[in-house]
Symmetry: C2
Subunit: 196 residues, 2 copies
Amino acid sequence: MPKIINHEERKQQIAQAMWRVILDKGMEGATVRNIAEEAGLSLGALRHYFSTQDDLLVYAMTLVQERATTRIEAVLKKELPPKEMVLAVLYEIVPINEETRAEMEVWFAFVAYVNHRKEELPIPDDGIWAGVQKVMHYLQATSLLKEGLDLDLESERLYSLIDGIAIHAMLEPERLDAERVRKTIRYHIDSICMEA
Amino acid sequence: MPKIINHEERKQQIAQAMWRVILDKGMEGATVRNIAEEAGLSLGALRHYFSTQDDLLVYAMTLVQERATTRIEAVLKKELPPKEMVLAVLYEIVPINEETRAEMEVWFAFVAYVNHRKEELPIPDDGIWAGVQKVMHYLQATSLLKEGLDLDLESERLYSLIDGIAIHAMLEPERLDAERVRKTIRYHIDSICMEA
């Protein structure tokens, strides 16, 4: 009797095959043929799940975003002091281990690939701008922020900082290793918070 | 008599054709054939200047980098107070007009395209990390910095901030327009400098 794999599991398996192909060969190697081969499926079977490469692309991007969201939700359930909670959340969205590094590489490849036709594709938002705004409001609500800060520009600043660090850590992993990534983020958060 | 175009001019013309193709069709459309057509050259003529697509890619990236350097050198010749000088330099490396926006799109496409094989290609450094370190030393030398800052982490922070803003301004030009880009950079520089 054939093994029963449900529809959603199979789609995830295909999306993960796409990620591996991208990590190995870049977006230009992420052809439907290569992805099917990596997933161990025929072209016809793959097309049963994703009728176009764009469908697969949008699904695979959504999955990267969902994985990060799941990790952040797990962090939010921990019992941590407010500032440590904020840092723990921010550390989940920068590449500081194999998993987050691979996600970042794939996300970066996706974004660059779809950039010139972002009007026509339903690209999922990575949610980081909304998340960063929540972080700033949380720091304010817990009375941790220094006086006189502009909350809107502080959000913009943190948003740029996080994505800039994420990209640099991906492109220059030796210079900007996990420890230096954490140190820079902590330095920034310390700079806007009152001393304990 | 045929028009005389020197070798270097022709190479620049081809690289600019490559940029236009990338802006219009993305990296996956930047085939040697499409670039030759955009440049108004035969495939053979193009190959006379660049024997491989990688040669052309590295040359085109170098040219983007040189254009930014030329603009920054022009700014450095102006007579500006130190803090305004720093801001003017930083504004040259973020997308706030058609020219810098196009450069950023092309650079981003290049970096993503070559990311999975950065070991084998001589990718030019964009020079921003070195430039940001110079900016921090300049602010210190002119006694503008606040007391007690960590110069190394401040450089890392400014570097992330600038590249993060550059990418966001490219991807979300309506939310993060030129005015908001300048405002965020100025806010950051103000936050590390003593009040005038």
